[in-house]
Each structure stands twice: as C-alpha cells, then as structure tokens.
Symmetry: C2
Subunit: 250 residues, 2 copies
Amino acid sequence: MQDPTLKVPTGTPIADDGDAYTFCSTCAFSAACLAEGYDKSVLRDLHVLVEHVGPFREGDHIFREGDPFNAIAAVRAGTVKTYVNDASGREQVLGFFLPGEVIGLNAIHAARYPCNAVALDTVMLCRFSFPMMATLAGRMPGLQRHLFNLLSQDIGKASVLSGNFTADERLAAFIVMLSRRFAERGFSPWRMRLTMARTDIANYLRLAPETVSRVLRRLQDEGVLRVDRRDMEILKPDVLDALAHHVLRD
Amino acid sequence: MQDPTLKVPTGTPIADDGDAYTFCSTCAFSAACLAEGYDKSVLRDLHVLVEHVGPFREGDHIFREGDPFNAIAAVRAGTVKTYVNDASGREQVLGFFLPGEVIGLNAIHAARYPCNAVALDTVMLCRFSFPMMATLAGRMPGLQRHLFNLLSQDIGKASVLSGNFTADERLAAFIVMLSRRFAERGFSPWRMRLTMARTDIANYLRLAPETVSRVLRRLQDEGVLRVDRRDMEILKPDVLDALAHHVLRD
DNA sequence: CGGGAATTTGACTAGCATCAAGTGACGTGG
DNA sequence: CCACGTCACTTGATGCTAGTCAAATTCCCG
C-alpha cells in the first residue's frame, strides 16, 4: 500500500546552485527526467523529493540491513560498498557503486534494506524518497520507465559473476567492468584508483585475498597491468578483455 | 521511449472461464490487481493485455537470447529454466521458475531478452504485454508497486547464491528454497518432483553433476533425504535447514 | 530386448583456500 | 626526525574441496 504520509525528507538538504530546477550532473535521474520535456510544475515535484546528502566519510554507513526503506540514492561522488553478514558473521560483499549508480533498489519489495551500505571513501549522494518517486512515476512515463530499467538492469548485473570462472577470469572481468564504468563517467579507463581493499575485491569475487594478490602480481609480471598499491594502470586491455570475455560475453 | 504502436498480442488466447474479469488463479498479478478495488473498466484494460499461451512441451523455447522483448510472463504450470551460453558455448543456468513466478523481468532495460528460456516439462504461461502493462501501471499504483516489488525481489534472489559456500550448503539451500516455493503454491513441501536434470541443478549451483550426485547420495545415506530418480522426499527438514542456513540466512 | 542418455561411482588431480610469516606504508608519539 | 605499532598487502608452503576423467549402471523409450 502506498504510504499516504509522505513526510519531508530528513537528511541534509544542500542549497540549490542557482537554477532551482537543475539537478546535479551526476544524478542518474536527471537526464531521463529532463529529457522528457515536462513543464516546470512537474520538475518542481521531482525536485522536492531529491536531497543531496553527505559527505559520508570512509567507514560511515549509509544504511544497514533491516533499516526501514524509504529512499533510493544515486552516488554523486565516492564509492559505496554493499554487503551482508552471513550466518557466521562473515562479510559477503554484494557490490560496489560508483558515481552515477543507484543504491537501494533491492530494498523496495521488503520495505527494509536487505543489506548494509558503507562508504569506502568520501561519498556524496542524491537521495530520492521512493514513495514520492513512485507516485510521480505514475504521472511521468519517462520516470517510470527509467526506474523499471534500473531495476531490470540490476537483475542482470547480479548474475554476471554467477558462473564458474577461474580466478584470472573473475579478476579480469572485475577490472574490465570497473574500467568501463569509470569511462562511462568520464574518467580515464586506463588509470584508476581502487577505492576498495583487496579483501573486498576478493570477497566480492569469491576468492581469497591471497589469490587476488597473486593474480595481480602475475598480471603485472606479464605486463598486462601496472599495480602500485591502490593505483592501477591497464597496459594491455586486449589481454584483459580476452580473459574477461568468458565472464562478460561480449 | 514508450512504444506507441501497441499491437494486439500475437499468442494463443484461451477462452475466458466464465467471469470475463477473473484471472487464472496462478496468475501472479491477479491478487495484487483485484485487491485494489478498481472498477470494471480498469480490470477490462488489464484483462486485454493478458493472454494465456501454451502448452509448451519439454525442450520448447519460450524465448531466446536476443529476441526482442515485449512481454513478461507468469508461469501457470510447469517449470521454466533460463540460461545463457558463455563464450565457449557452455550453458550457464540462471534460474528455475515455478508456477506463480515471473519470467522476462531482466529483459526490460535492453528491450531484448538477455537469456534463453526453455520449458522443462509441459508449461502454460500468462503473458503480459509489457508496454501496455507499464502504461496501465501509470494509472494503477497497486500494479506499479507490484511490478517494482517483483523486480526488486529478483535483484535479491540473484545474489543469494553469490557467496562462497560448500557443495552441501548450496545443494541444501537449493532444496530448501524449492520446498518453500512449492509450499507457497499449495504443493507438499516434503515430497516433490525435480523437473530439472542433475546437470541443470549442478550448473545452477556451480557444481559438477558428479558432485550433486555424491552429495545427494550422502544426504540419503544420512537419512536426510530419500531420492528416487527425480522424486525427492525430505525426511529431516531441520538438518537441511541447518545446512542451508549459511546461504539463506534465516 | 537394445540403443542412448542420464546418472552414479571410483580414482586421480588441479585450483584455490588456508596457514604462517614476511614486507612495506602510514600514523603516532617520544 | 626517528622508533614503534598497526594495518593492508604480499609471499611461500601445504592441504582440501570439488572438478575431471573414465567406466559402470540404470532408466527410458522405441
């Protein structure tokens, strides 16, 4: 049942930057919404349900498993890691979210967040009240379609790594995906900073941290990568693509 | 962009069973839609975009990877397996869909099916034109919410098996999930027929078929299960639950 | 009854996890 | 400025889980 008591967002609103109806450039919804050509009143509706929150510092939690769900959020800056704790309390990393990507979509059905979200560095978010957004989506087909697309996309993403792949293939796929996602956001695809720890990468890929370390070392010895601490440079994208091909199928 | 050319469904409509505005009982949408208390005209709208298709025989494809997407479908009877072929042509099973469950949700964003769907036995479907459904969802908040819920749920389902679990844990979790899903649909949770081959189960769980066979044998020797060919009886649900607990976290 | 596919079983092996120890970067406090 | 402690990461040695290969068995279906 749609919650009729749509209360005012409780975060830290940030002052508008001049044009009252302009969204931050990294807001994942801005393009879809603005491209629709709706009039000012609709844009105003959309604007009131957006709030810029942050900064979150490294280690700050954005939400925790079991928290009541009321908003999804687009990452504006930084990296967010989502994870759950399994029965034995061990962490299981579900994903990393870069600027432009949306967190919280898996919380809709249960009305609670099914996982934890933590900032890996300094994180800024655009938060959207989901009940308000759903209401608005009823009037804005473009927004509704955008939400359906985001949700649908995440189903596919979640099963990319479901296959039985070697450590090399998984790590290569991880690096290639990261590279592409950075490129999409206008960052260099060849030089990047890994904001997540080796243990997080390992965990996400279902490998031991030692294995990640060894594979990176080997790829470096083969001249495919240059890795220095958390800075990574891709030297032979084609080799990486070939390895990742089994996973990414493209 | 919403497709403006909503053409008449092309499948095999099945005659109404008396009440023109009654949906088949296994139709996953019926409850959500009928519970809303909308008037007849809205129900009529909803009704025209549903078509009962089938039967599909074992091995028949419902859709294939790359097919243009235009409809999602609820399984009415039988079991559907979804899979992709990896770079080397090897199959990777993504999921099994029982009566009441919905296929095609991962196809929305690309407007093409990203995987294949095949009938494992005799399958009947309720097919819903997605463009029409989305339009209608704009007028029916309950329907929209239901769609969001289905999509959101699938994101979570896709990552259940993403962890690093032992063969025993994964297989136990598979059996427990199957049991629960059967129970939800009114079937016995303790006796079930596995409609999928061992190789499919193995593939889905990222195990070798031999491993599935061995684990089943051991569980049988321990008196946890009774397995005869594709008929399975759960004798010690608690043992199974304990094993599955690491995966399912409940 | 016979052919073929699915499944089971056994023997062996490979890949990755685990355990243990070492290295390097960074921050703190003397 | 340097000694120290901490933490993340790396490296090496070893073990185990599950995969692979091969073959037997069972079931299905004509």
